[in-house]
Amino acid sequence: MAVKLPVYMDNHATTPVDPRVLEVMLPYFTNQFGNAASRNHSFGWQAEQGVDTAREQVAALINATPKEIIFTSGATESDNLAIKGVAEMYREKGNHIITAVTEHKAVLDTCKRLEKHGCQVTYLPVSKEGLIDLDELRATITDKTVLITIMYANNEIGVLQPIEEIGKIAKEKKVLFHTDAVQAAGKVPFDVQKMNVDLASITAHKMYGPKGVGALYVRRRNPRVQLSAIIDGGGHERGMRSGTLNVPGIVGFGAACEVAQKEMPAEMERLRGLRDRLHQGITSRLDEIYPNGSMEHRLPHNLNVSFAYVEGESLLMGINDIAVSSGSACTSASLEPSYVLKALGVGEDLAHTSIRFGLGRFNTEEEVDYVVDRLAETVSRLRELSPLYEMAKEGVDVSAMQWNTD
């Protein structure tokens, strides 16, 4: 079967809306357009009904109760609300926050801003595998610590942090635990009860729902978490997030959660099979391929590998009918290679050659085989062009050479 081009394999960036999700959303743009806060007419009741159902669906996915779901505009807002909201609300108790160096910028930059306002933040390092050290976490907690914020799955390398163990430590030390679960929710089991999570950020567009809608899970008992709002207004979402609800988006988010929950067991296995096929295909055709981060503690649909001696942007240019991402500096706005890979101790030379593959619901085996073929031919061609590959083949240790980096 011919592969339809271009192939989309960048599902950590975003996912398409599932047609089943879109279908449920459509009436809420036209006939059922009401404001969910309108209490005196049927338009408002219909909208509220849609939101209530969605709240139940979102809660069910993560084993929460509907009242613990606060709808937001997306995970960046959820991360901001969780971290700033806790820092402000628990200021009397303490000002110390613990996070990790591989977190998403929505967490890191929020923490940096709080540092300017008197908070102290510890950024835990990670191992070569991309994992934090639990003993180090435990040792870092002080009586001033109010929040631990550690992501569930990393957006670049797909590495899964031991959040159940982190939750245990947080509970024992009576510190609140927030997790950015954007890449994990709807993909792998995520149970806020079992994992002792107090706050969790999730978003619809990473799980085949629409963009512009997310949620923050806020625990209501054992303990009851309180937050200072960062957006003031009409008191929506129990006062934690004012603003008219994005009803069609929320309805779609709910539908997306329901589909994801139902299909998760089979879909995890299918995607793991495709991912392993991709990885094996690449390593059987090319030498000097280095996976980044733990292959064991990892999302089943993520692969992040460095194609040594081939710069990432030039590789993307050669496979321009395949949508993937690179950790190369040239592809980022900052002109710095990936800080996540740097934190793992991956040398900048290898960071420049890294590619992130994010498999998803609509990828097929034929697409994987096509991607392997295109990668094998493009990497081989670019290595013929690479002075570093030539030197390595001549036995020169490229990393030990003195380069002029002015």
Partner: protein, 142 residues
């Protein structure tokens, strides 16, 4: 990012890819950039010592499409030129020819540096072999 047609053309059909014997006294090799920065260019030229004309040029580049295109273009331009002429090639001319955006100007700078480094390498070799020649000559004169 959108690439100019000329960058795409050099990327898809790079000119003069390969290597020359780096120990040949008539070959100059320039190796510039660094893997950590995401760009390494190796540019080589074979020079006729009588005329100082660049008779052949080869390159290999690790880097983005613009870096590959800049070095490919550089080899095209220096072939047939004298060393003196090759030294007048400016990175701004490469930028203009390839329509490089501002963030890619460093690729053209690297290509200019590679030409200069290769010529310096050749000249270094020549002065050593001339000096050796002189020693040999004086030895036989004894």
């Amino acid at each position: 990012m959108a690439y100019s047609d000329k960058v795409l053309d050099h990327y898809k059909n790079p000119r003069n890819v390969g290597s020359l014997a780096k120990d040949d006294p008539n070959v100059g090799t320039g190796l510039v950039g660094a893997p950590e920065c995401g760009d390494v260019m190796k540019l080589q030229m074979k020079i006729n010592p009588e005329t100082e004309v660049i008779e052949d040029a080869k390159f290999k580049t690790f880097g983005c499409g613009s870096a590959i295109a800049s070095s490919s273009l550089a080899t095209e331009w220096i072939k047939g030129k004298t060393l003196e002429e090759a030294l007048t090639i400016k990175n701004t001319e490469i930028v203009k020819e390839l329509n490089l955006p501002p963030v890619k100007i460093h690729c053209s700078v690297l290509a200019e540096d590679a030409i200069k480094a290769a010529i310096a390498d050749y000249k270094g070799k020549q002065s050593v072999s001339t000096a050796e020649g002189a020693t040999v000559a004086s030895a036989t004169a004894d």
